[in-house]
């Protein structure tokens, strides 16, 4: 933008209209973002419960209680397990599907649509469908697994399998999203690079992948990884619909117990402390992502 002389009529107009245009957004930022954030941090140092008359400052007691709480520890462990399971499959699965779909010409659109369907659909509705599909007596999955020799497993009610089942549904929802991001990355690779590689002697698929595809997808891969981590970290809908944290707390995740503490038991101070922990995780990931996006520029 061209710098304008301060005090010129144009500069005064811009200053006035800029302020007018920005005011509503700024107001919203203060009311919806900044003020709640300040309240949140303050709240995390109190024993506030919704409707309570007296509020006491208790310093870091909430945090101490939280990290000593086996439920919180379990939810943290469950969440990380969930992320650890979803992340590699959703990222490399998405990459694999994108590579295969990208090579198709006539059938490309059909595959794209089918793999992307779960992304646009309402997860709560589709989770009820999954629940029905996984129903031990009425759904098709249990008999199918039994026929394959796995025995009759009630995937959602078995503590050994429930979290994994949720993760599979998470992958089911995420893989098409990642596929589309990878497809965009793949189409951005100039065809001439593959041709140059062909002339240079890259005769094997492995050579083309390692010399061209993988390095040029680097920024996309980082982006997809961070995004998938954030999404997996915030797993909530499927827990509410399918397991409510059970069986035996095996699917209690961070966001789910935060929801319970804050909005079911109304232990606001404690939940606020938990939210601060969540915020730290997500902010860390966001900073990582910002770094990645900066790096992306270098390649252009």
């Amino acid at each position: 933008m061209s710098p304008r002389a301060p005090g010129s009529p144009q500069a005064r107009t811009e200053a006035r209209w800029g302020a007018i245009f920005a005011a509503p957004a700024l107001l919203l930022i203060v009311v919806i973002l900044l003020a709640p954030l300040a309240v949140l941090v303050a709240l995390s140092a109190t024993d506030y419960r919704l409707g309570a008359i007296a509020v006491r400052m208790i310093g870091l007691d909430n945090y101490a209680a939280m990290f000593a709480d086996p439920v919180f520890q379990r939810s943290l462990r469950n969440t990380f397990l969930y992320v650890a399971f979803v992340l590699p499959v959703a990222v490399f699965g998405g990459l694999g599907v994108a590579l295969l779909v990208h090579a198709r010409i006539r059938t490309r659109t059909i595959y794209e649509v089918i793999y992307f369907l779960p992304v646009t659909s309402t997860l709560v509705a589709m989770a009820t469908v999954w629940q029905f599909m996984l129903h031990p007596t009425l759904g098709p999955v249990t008999p199918l697994l039994a026929d394959l020799g796995f025995g009759r497993i009630d995937l959602l009610n078995d503590p050994d399998f429930a979290l994994g089942t949720l993760a599979l549904i998470g992958i089911w929802q995420l893989i098409g999203f990642n596929m589309v991001l990878f497809l965009a990355g793949l189409s951005a690779i100039p065809r001439e690079l593959y041709e140059a590689a062909a002339l240079d002697g890259a005769r094997y698929g492995a050579d083309r992948f390692l010399r061209v595809t993988w390095p040029l997808l680097g920024p996309t891969t980082m982006f997809v990884t961070v995004t998938s981590t954030v999404t997996a970290f915030k797993v909530f809908d499927t827990v509410v619909v399918l397991t409510r944290g059970g069986p035996l707390g095996s699917t209690e995740t961070l966001l789910y117990i935060l929801y319970l503490e804050g909005f079911q038991y109304f232990r606001m101070g404690y939940a606020a402390a938990m939210t601060v922990v969540l915020l730290v995780f997500l902010a860390g990931l966001s900073i990582l992502q910002a770094r990645v996006l900066e790096r992306k520029v270098h390649y252009a």
Partner: protein, 397 residues
């Protein structure tokens, strides 16, 4: 046949009957072309004429529907691009953006001298001979980089280079493998004008030094005219004319060739043969068409430099025109005029500054302009566009 290295003959490229269609569009129609070893041949033509497709067929990046490519006397139709022993410089340079200059230039040698296992990440470190091979490769890369004066850039990445530097890296990557044939697809079109002029002479020098066959694709007739030993002018999937730059300029085979070659473009005027060796344009008789039957419609092409302002009573053939605008280009002038009379055809006249000043002093550059026609730059084409032999008249200025 040209000479390469120590006496080894450079390889020629022979194309026979190359045809290619993309869907219903015929891009190339049975191209026959024999390119001699050590030659600098340029494929030139408007965009979409099929020149790039032809180059890519030679490289093996595209498969011809029919016909055959032979390099060094042997058919290469069944060979993969890397087995054809050709190198290509792409319009976008196609440098690997994540690799350094050295890595880019080393790639073709790594692909040839290392096994697949020696190129895979992690596993490659198991190979005991790899470090030695890589040292050899890097020495060759450095040598080539030095001849191209990019040795100080070897550790940079392409994004940190200027357009001209990237161009050199692309050339370097092609040179390290000592290919039999050097293919270039519009390599200068992404450079600014000054650099383009400079790189033209560098490419010509490079060709002289390497002594191998160059096949060069461009839409820029100036590049074609300045660098090539021969030029193939293409349009709509055919070669309209193959010859030296001088052949194409001085003896265009068709109207289309005459129109494409030359800047500013040739003036084309419609006329009619009078059966006595003359062509009438707008009532003026040019005595240049012996043996053409009376009433034949012809096209007369006159190069801008073949027209000269003349006194109205000139004893040679004189076209009468109306001067619209005069452009001063410093060393020369462009006069933009229209033919007087019915045609109103536009004419461009190119004269030196000295001639302009003399003509202006003589009062020849009024609104009514008389233009003497120099036969040397005058060409005659029949109704089918083919060239008709022109008799040179002596004694006309």
């Amino acid at each position: 046949m040209g000479v390469r290295d120590s006496g080894r003959l450079a390889d020629g490229v022979v194309l026979s009957g190359i045809a290619k269609s993309f869907g219903p569009t015929r891009v190339l129609e049975a191209i026959d072309l024999a390119i001699e070893g050590g030659e600098f041949l340029t494929l030139v033509g408007p965009s979409g004429c099929g020149k790039s497709t032809l180059l890519r067929i030679i490289a093996g990046l595209e498969t011809a529907d029919a016909g055959s490519v032979a390099i060094g006397g042997r058919s290469v139709d069944h060979l993969r691009p890397d087995e054809r022993d050709v190198a290509m410089v792409f319009q976008s340079y196609a440098l690997y953006p994540h690799m350094t200059v050295a890595g880019n230039m080393a790639t073709p040698l790594e692909m040839r001298r290392l096994t697949l296992a020696e190129r895979l990440p992690l596993i490659r470190h198991l190979s005991p001979r790899r470090p030695r091979v890589m040292r050899g490769i890097m020495a060759e890369v450095r040598a080539v980089a030095e001849t191209l004066q990019i040795a100080h850039l070897l550790d940079r990445k392409p994004a940190q280079l200027s357009g001209g530097q990237r161009q050199r890296v692309a050339l370097g990557r092609a040179m390290v493998r000592r290919p039999r044939v050097f293919l270039m697809d519009e390599p200068l079109s992404n450079l600014d004008a000054a650099l383009r002029v400079h790189m033209r002479s560098e490419l010509a020098e490079l060709h002289a030094r390497l002594g191998i066959t160059f096949i060069y694709v461009t839409h820029d007739q100036v590049e074609a005219m300045t660098m090539s030993s021969r030029v193939a002018l293409m349009d709509q999937g055919r070669i309209l004319q193959l010859g030296t730059p001088a052949d194409l300029y001085d003896r265009p085979a068709t109207v289309a060739v005459a129109r494409f070659i030359g800047s500013p473009p040739i003036n084309l005027l419609e006329g009619e043969a009078d059966g006595t060796g003359g062509v009438r344009i707008d009532g003026v008789r040019l005595p240049i068409a012996p043996g053409v039957a009376a009433g034949t419609r012809v096209t007369v092409g006159i190069r801008p430099e073949a027209l000269h302002p003349a006194p109205a009573r000139h004893d040679g053939p004189v076209l009468r025109a109306r001067l619209k605008r005069a452009e001063n280009l410093g060393a020369e002038w462009m006069l933009h005029a229209t033919l007087a009379g019915a045609g109103d055809a536009p004419l461009v006249v190119r004269i030196t500054a000295a001639e302009h000043d003399a003509a202006a002093a003589a009062g020849l550059l009024g609104e009514d302009l008389a233009l003497a026609v120099a036969p040397a730059g005058t060409h005659l084409f029949g109704a089918d566009g083919a060239r008709i032999a022109v008799r040179r008249l002596a004694g006309v200025a």
